[in-house]
Symmetry: C2
Subunit: 394 residues, 2 copies
């Protein structure tokens, strides 16, 4: 009498997790410092001092209310602060009533999908994509359909997108800066996407919502400014996480921000409270909600990611590996020098290089490197990568 | 295209929340100290010093790993510590693999129900019961069926229970010490319940699981020891919260503990990880998971609840109000002196007494008082309660 849909999920092993487990086991043999583990997107930089100080202050100055229940729509002063920060930064008139605090971007996306998608509906996303989108969508009864990648640029393959749009499309789920490609959607891409969504909403007689997964928003390179898909399309549900920007993935804190001009904006946030109630999650930890308030407009020192990216990108180019230069994140997504990226990744293991094949991201033939590791280790890994590629493929 | 099941939930206002909002509004008029607000079960005692000290220590001594991701089954060292504490206290051989850390008892129950109950299944519970059981069960597609109360004792009405048991029964959900009655199930009740469940499991050819909701386990009166339903029935999924015992409801921390002798014990915990993945919750905040470890065998000073209970109970008895003496919690559930407890509660508002009618707990004609407030306020409220009852009903 166990519910089969969850039991079945146990059978499907994650390639990323398997590789990460291999890396840990191999690390026990030869020392983890000698394993070049590019498998996991686990932030490596220290948390900002302000976050730590605010937690200490909150605990020391607790008048007895610090650990009390949050209201069902999460802490009003935190929602207010998030709204003000977004308004100031992106010029969209968010108010507290448009914000719902969540358990990271994962919680935010899972809420956003439940708001809109039900059995019979479709959610479209663009390859390459984060494989965890599957459980968020699949467990609602809706279907995740993947638009094939434009492998030249990793912007959107609009012709393929238009073909998959239909009256069943309830939402479109994007992720920019992108895991795994590292690519940032251009303003032109976001504008074209918005135009197509407006046209399709009108054609099919219902709003098609844009769910914008933005955990890497603050990690952008070459001095560019973080972009905001919500500015291009009113019916946007922004899903944010502080995991990467403040380096606190274990504390599970993020938010849903519904564009104030969105159809049913306030109702959507109130429905988030009901979704949360049904899954028994209720609210993120109140201490953590409060502690992010002074940190809304700051980040950890994220410069290591750009430094690592440049080192890896230059080496890959030097090796004649086809690769799109990342505009942000801590990922890069080169083309494998043989057609089968799974075989390629297996061969790399002989050099203690842990590279993730692109198949589970919906882009076979590519591989992901998560370079959220020390620059020193990246530097030691590059001669090994060079040796692996030249010995095996040249 | 919004998902109607969540939008519909917005229409159903919670009586408890409405009363609580009335109390807040009235408090702004006459001063909240003059409103005798017995509506909300919000713990009122300070957190244990050990919890605060452990948080400060963890933050100060962070080597960079404090805020990192938890594994998908939550932090191993925390699961291990919970298992050891339970083994020591209740003599059941729990190991880490039987424990999954959750977002309070709410998260635990919602996970437990999803493990077992699907569309077409039934979950039975006993009146009076916590109304939030409805969203946990309803949103799985299963049906919550309520066994009428034994209003003489608020133990289990076994004849009514036997009538509702069927091949569709996937789980039985109990709550002892009970919200709203304050009653603790006797060993005899738990033994009879277990015997019936074993018999029915055998008759219907599948295990009927016992989901045991235990957030009030540590709040027991008259020197009694906390009891453990899992000791009576192997197929028990214990759902615990630290909200009340450590007075930290906003931090959302609790656990699922599956009896090691339970059918599919380890698989159930692994499935919890998949359920959590699908709702995007993943894990409770890592800081909070870690901070409870030194607090597993302690509680806040909970003595105020017993003191308050005795004051209220004695007054009610003196007023000839029918009431079962609570064995724990911070609730008492007397019989209203008129048949319609909703009308009774409305009349009480004229005296600034906020009492919750029992209808939403499945026991019309009774009312709940949540006495997790200062004793000084309880003492001031009793002459008012006395005046209300005698003027209105004597």
């Amino acid at each position: 009498m166990l519910v089969e849909r969850y039991r079945e999920m146990l059978g499907k092993k994650s390639v990323i997790r398997e590789l990460s487990e291999f890396a840990t086991a191999r690390g026990k043999e030869i020392g983890y410092e000698n394993v070049f583990d590019y498998s996991l997107g686990n932030p490596s930089v220290p948390v900002p001092q302000q976050f730590t100080e605010e937690m200490l202050r909150l605990i020391r100055e607790d008048d007895g209310s610090l650990h009390g229940y949050s209201p069902s729509l999460t802490l009003p002063e935190v929602r207010q602060a998030v709204a003000e920060s977004l308004k100031k930064r992106f010029g969209i008139p968010y108010e507290a009533e448009h914000i719902f605090m969540t358990s990271g971007a994962a919680g935010a996306i899972a809420h956003a999908v439940r708001l809109i998608a039900d059995a019979g509906d479709e959610v479209l996303t663009f390859a390459p994509f984060f494989p965890e989108y599957h459980p968020y969508v699949d467990l609602t009864g809706a279907v995740l359909r993947v638009v094939p990648a434009d492998t030249e640029t990793f912007q959107i393959h609009f012709d393929a997108f238009r073909e998959l749009l239909s009256e069943r499309t309830a939402a479109v789920l994007i992720n920019t800066p992108n895991n795994p490609s590292g690519v940032v959607y251009s303003d032109e891409t976001l504008q074209t996407l918005a135009d197509i969504l407006r046209e399709a909403s009108s054609k099919y007689g219902h709003p098609i919502y844009l769910i914008s997964d933005e955990p890497y928003r603050e990690i952008v390179f070459d001095g560019r400014k973080p972009s905001c898909p919500s500015r291009f399309y009113n019916n946007t549900i922004m899903c944010y996480s502080f995991s990467k920007s403040l380096s606190i993935p274990g504390e599970r804190i993020g938010y849903v921000a519904v564009n104030p001009a969105c159809a049913d904006a306030k109702v959507l946030i109130q429905m988030c409270g009901q979704i949360s109630r049904g899954i028994g999650h209720n609210c993120p930890a109140s201490l953590i909600q409060r502690a992010i308030v002074p940190c809304l407009d700051i980040t950890s020192d994220l410069s290591v990611y750009e430094r690592n990216m440049n080192l890896i990108y230059d080496t890959l180019r030097d090796l004649d590996i086809t690769v799109v230069r990342p505009g942000g994140t801590f990922y890069i997504f080169p083309k494998a020098p043989e057609e089968d990226a799974v075989a390629f990744s297996k061969k790399a293991l002989d050099y203690d290089l842990i590279l993730v094949p692109g198949d589970s991201f919906g882009a076979p033939g590519f591989f992901r490197m998560a370079y959220c590791i020390d620059t020193e280790k990246v530097e030691r890994s590059l001669p090994v990568l060079r040796k692996f590629i030249t010995k095996t493929y040249r």
